[in-house]
Homo-oligomer: 297 residues x 2
């Protein structure tokens, strides 16, 4: 799995930080979390083909998180995409996509599948689960987590002891299904070891610190949390429904995550030094995201 | 007057060239011609405050020319703009701006004045005239010209010979008005010299070479013309309703302009060397625009 930060600013971009967007390369897919203006160009710089994007998860409908959708959707059409694109976001996503569709003349030859989300499981595949939780912003806003599903170890010697011959029955058992063999019911737990814990990544979108975020982020390997403000600008954070660096660090500590990555940095700071150091006092394993930063896990 | 190229690519951006947009600093205003995705960030790099933009002229409604409008309009709201913003474009501009208005949650405290244009004069002030002409693209598309209005020289000695005292009458005469003085009618031509020719700039938007473009660009100091393709890709230019470098140069020659600047370069070329050299064989005073290139005139 690889996380690539495409944009790490807040509402206004700077020369160093573009509007919010995060790419995740995992499970033979490329997924985007948010899609601010200019994301299609950031993808070029990050050497990620937009044609490989399978899913886009939108946290909320503030312009800095969605204004790159139109360009990306049109560009994919221009490049001849035929594969479906799935877009997930809060209630109102259909209206947003309709607005994009009436924005100028263009044609796409692929399907846009629009999914309006609610608290809970957003999508579950064989390989991973994406969940979301409504967080606390000044408009409806969701945080996302994605958790890798690891199959438990298949204990071949146990299967052999039970006399089951190698073949399709092994696969079924490994997938957690009961099988019948020579009149006997074999349960998967008879041949499966412990499941390894899969990797988990959480992303806050825009939010005040909240219980829902802690629950969603619980035990994440990486928590990507907005940190629009330094601690001394706490009142601004409250007024604008954002978090300070210290508040983000407190969430990381409460949720028992392994690593905290701060993003969505306000243009009011010329350096992210304070943001980082004050967060690290609360939660040591903290870094501040920069555009094109990559994290392997 | 200063022209600043903010984006010089065609439909797909590259690391070097963003989507089309041209800024003009003149007459104590900043005007934009087209506004592709990411224009607000290009403005930062070019050190032009978006708050100073007074007018935006849109050539046509292909995404690469308009997808930066939403971000710019929202950003100006975010920055607290109160001054009106005038936007000009083909029929359908109201619909485009409505789509932007329903795109997510935001609030602006300034007026957007929407002007749907037709062939002819778009706006005339004391200082300049903007005209447009419908050109030949695969959707309705307009080229623009802006011409500085120069007042003729006021010949003070002639006014004195006629016995007119210095004061408000001089201003009226200089502005082309007749005045009455001691029972005599004084006509402006009695005290005015020849008018100096004002600067003229023309911009093609997207088009096949056409007579309307030649007429609009006639005697321009600078013609900014699209040159999506090299001459050998002539058939692509025809198929996609664009121009080749040589065709743009022929327009420049026919229109008797002083300088040709080629823009809207396709991503298929890694260098603009051919585009430039083949155009220069037809029209010597040609350059190829690059992002952030400035021209003073």
């Amino acid at each position: 799995m690889e996380i690539i930060f495409l944009g790490t600013s807040s509402a206004v971009p700077t020369l160093e930080r573009n509007h919010p967007s995060i790419a995740l390369r995992a499970f033979a897919e490329v997924m985007l979390f948010d899609c601010g203006e200019g994301t299609q160009r950031q993808l070029i710089e990050a050497k990620i083909s937009p044609m490989k994007i399978t899913k886009i998860f939108i946290s909320h409908f503030h312009g800095d998180h969605i204004l790159g959708l139109g360009g990306l959707i049109q560009s994919l059409g221009f490049r001849g995409r035929e594969k479906d694109l799935d877009i997930y976001g809060p209630k109102g996503l259909h209206k947003i996509i309709n607005a994009i569709s009436s924005f100028g003349y263009f044609q796409i030859n692929y399907n846009l599948n629009i999914h309006e989300i609610q608290d809970g499981t957003v999508i579950e595949t064989e390989d991973y689960v994406v969940e979301c939780a409504k967080v606390e912003h000044n408009i409806p806003s969701y945080a996302y987590s994605i958790r890798e599903k690891k199959k438990p170890l298949f204990l071949r010697e146990k299967a052999e002891e039970l006399g089951i011959p190698p073949g399709p029955l092994y696969g079924k058992l490994h997938n957690g299904e009961e099988v019948e063999f020579e009149g006997r019911i074999i349960k998967p737990e008879q041949v499966l070891g412990e499941a390894k814990k899969g990797k988990k990544i959480s992303y806050s979108g825009d939010t005040r610190p909240c219980e829902a975020m802690i629950r969603l982020a619980r035990d994440s390997d990486i928590l990507i949390h907005e940190s629009t403000y330094e601690a001394e600008d706490y009142q601004r954070a409250v007024d604008n429904a954002h978090s300070t660096s210290v508040e983000a660090a407190e969430i990381a500590r409460e949720a028992n995550v392994n690593e905290l990555v701060l993003t969505h940095i306000s243009t009011r700071y010329t350096s992210d030094k304070n943001i980082k150091s004050e967060a690290q006092k609360v939660f040591k394993n903290t870094k501040v995201a920069r555009d094109y930063m990559k994290i392997d896990l």
